[in-house]
């Protein structure tokens, strides 16, 4: 079968390479004939491809190519987004000035670390700017990158303006910058603290997409736990608002852990069994029940005891948040290697 070759003007056909394709075809015709008959192979039983096993149990899906930067990015981004929200609301409701300042610094630190981690993970980091060619609402990665960009600029501007007015005295432009930056970092911090749940939820990885309705809430709670924890470690262990937020996040995470443990569905297996299962459990215990108990215990007894218990709760929530992100990514890897799910699931539905 030869090609009709209507060559566009200015193009020339590389005849040598074209002839090579014909040569491959001829060689295949001549050499790929099996003349031996009745050969009885030794070593049976041989692996077979069946509707149940798929193609020899070779995974259908590819594993996510992301490395350690991504779970760390989820952790930092979640904490920074939640810290920006806490800082802005604390400012608007007239809470402790120092708390507002610290929350802004956490958000600003996150706004520097987050893009660095994200860029480091790219296969071609020097091409990060390619992300900014387009805005695609149907791509959570695109929406996320633009949110990150806006959030980072706003959070950094807020902290910078505050720093300048502390140092050189307040002025109108600085105040405008500070307020506008704070409003923007509140507006963008809200989605930024949880969009990573959308990012991994809207994929083909079964353990992720089957939890798509939970992940943003779960990740938001994890981010709040971490942000509150960091603020408490910075000394804000007397704030009742932070205590309430930390307790709320810990209770939500407890419920999330119970939900995972109580459902017996094959797609949740990577969250329960094997190494990824144990990371999930450790992360869940550290972000859910342990800080809940510590915080409740801290409500009773003396100030010193409360102070120390909240410090432990803070460490626990921070470690739990980080482990939870690691757990979900590693569960995604296990889930992608599962050759059964994509084939079985389809048969059922």
């Amino acid at each position: 079968m030869s090609d009709p070759v209507p060559m566009p003007p200015g193009e020339t056909l590389d005849l040598e390479r074209e002839d090579r394709l014909d040569e491959i075809r001829r060689e295949a015709e001549e050499r790929s004939q099996l003349h031996a008959t009745a050969a009885r192979p030794q070593g049976a039983p041989f692996p077979q491809a069946t509707p149940e096993s798929g193609y020899y149990g070779i995974p259908l899906l590819k594993q996510p190519p992301w490395t350690w930067e991504i779970p760390l990015y989820f952790f930092v981004g979640g904490a920074a987004g939640a810290a920006a929200v806490i800082g802005a609301i604390a400012d608007y409701t007239g809470a402790d000035r120092e708390l507002v300042r610290h929350a802004r610094w956490i958000a600003a630190a996150g706004s520097v670390i987050s893009p660095a981690l994200l860029i480091a993970d790219l296969g071609r980091p020097e091409r990060f700017l390619a992300m900014l060619r387009v805005f695609k609402p149907q791509s959570p990665m695109s929406v996320g990158v633009w949110t990150l960009l806006g959030f980072s600029s706003a959070a950094a501007a807020t902290a910078f303006a505050e720093f300048l007015s502390d140092r050189y005295g307040p002025s109108l432009p600085l105040r405008v910058l500070e307020n506008a930056g704070q409003a923007a970092s509140l507006a963008l911090g809200l989605p930024f603290s949880n969009y990573t749940g959308v990012l991994i939820g809207a994929t083909v990885i079964p353990v992720w997409n089957r939890n798509v309705g939970q992940l943003p809430l779960h990740f938001a709670a994890s981010g709040v736990g971490a942000a509150v924890g960091i603020l408490e470690l910075m000394g804000h262990r007397k704030s009742r608002a932070l205590q309430a937020l930390g307790l709320g996040a810990a209770i939500f995470e407890t419920w999330e852990g119970l939900r995972i443990e109580s459902l017996s569905q094959p797609h949740l297996d990577p969250l329960k069994y094997g190494a990824s299962g144990w990371i999930t459990r450790a992360g869940g215990a550290l972000s859910g029940p342990i800080p809940t108990l510590l915080r409740v215990a801290g409500l009773f007894g003396g100030k010193r005891r409360s102070n120390s218990l909240r410090r432990w709760a803070a460490w626990s929530a921070i470690a739990g948040s980080l482990l939870t992100r690691v757990a979900w990514i590693s569960a995604g890897h296990v889930s992608a290697r599962d050759w059964k799910l994509p084939l079985q699931r389809d048969a059922a539905e």
């Binding site: 069946t50 590819k62 929200v85 091409r127 749940g197 938001a220 704030s239 389809d346």
Partner: protein, 267 residues
């Protein structure tokens, strides 16, 4: 420009791997292991960053008469796998750089000069086709020989296929051809042959169709592949809910916090 497609007919495939060789030579894709996988005559196991055509060697329970087999020997079919070039392509929707585009020939093409290696397409392909090249960092897959189609040539694999198991042509004509071929096979007593083209799923059909014998799942072809954009609505609803709870919860926590410092004093 007409919309083109592949039709890969496993009932004609002889497992010679000429398509793999032609693809690698034309596209300059490196050799990726001549080791035996232990699964029949398969080398690489699946399509990936360095395997854009992949011949599957499907050994199944003995079916007397299939492929001229004796009753006690495993039945053996071959099928050359390739990027499906989905009508609703998960990788294309997910790509944040706009590197992945739909060509005028209906194929899904990764522009290598735009791809920044974020890897999101890898997690968005329901067929596990796209893969990031570890050394290069970018994502790679079958280009549908976009360069060849541009000058009116058929893809290299189709050209090199000695049995014309790989057919390339206008998509409507190929669908018709597939139906004719299935009728022909039926008439010859091969009743288990079927066309794999998941048109009823969210993928809405593929530009690489396959004629397979028996259950497509034996060939790692899922019955209902899903494009991940179907999860977006639920995901963003949950995201909005989470944002609302965070805003409301934080407001409540601070409004009911008795220990309001004197903000004006500290300013």
């Amino acid at each position: 420009m007409s919309v083109m497609a592949f039709l890969t007919d496993s009932t004609l495939c002889i497992g010679c791997k000429a398509c793999e060789v032609a693809c690698k030579e034309w596209n300059g894709v490196g050799e990726d292991g001549l080791n035996w996988s232990g699964f029949s005559y398969d080398n690489t196991g699946a399509v990936g960053a360095s395997t854009w055509r992949h011949v599957k060697f499907v050994e199944q329970a003995p079916v007397p008469g299939l492929g001229g087999n004796a009753g006690e020997q495993a039945s053996w079919t071959f099928s050359s796998d390739v990027c499906k070039h989905c009508e609703e392509a998960g990788c294309l929707e997910a790509c944040p750089t706009g590197s992945i585009v739909r060509t005028e020939f209906g194929g899904v093409f990764i522009q290598p000069d735009v791809c920044n290696g974020c890897g999101y397409c890898v997690t968005s392909c329901p067929f596990g086709v796209v893969e990031r090249n570890q050394k290069d960092g970018r994502a790679f897959k079958c280009t549908f020989c976009y360069d060849r189609q541009k000058v009116g040539l058929q893809p290299a694999c189709a050209k090199a296929c000695p049995t014309e198991s790989i057919k390339f042509g206008e998509i409507g004509q190929l669908r018709q051809h597939a139906q004719d071929r299935l009728h022909e096979l039926q008439a010859r007593g091969i009743t288990d042959a079927q066309l794999y083209n998941p048109a009823e799923t969210s993928v809405r059909g593929t530009h690489a169709m396959f004629i397979v014998r028996g259950d497509p799942r034996s060939y790692n072809l899922p019955l209902a592949p899903e494009v991940p954009t179907v999860y977006l609505q639920k995901a963003w609803t949950a995201s909005a809910l989470a944002a609302g709870l965070l805003l409301g919860g934080t407001l409540l926590a601070f409004l009911f916090d008795g220990k309001k410092a004197d903000r004006r004093e500290n300013r």
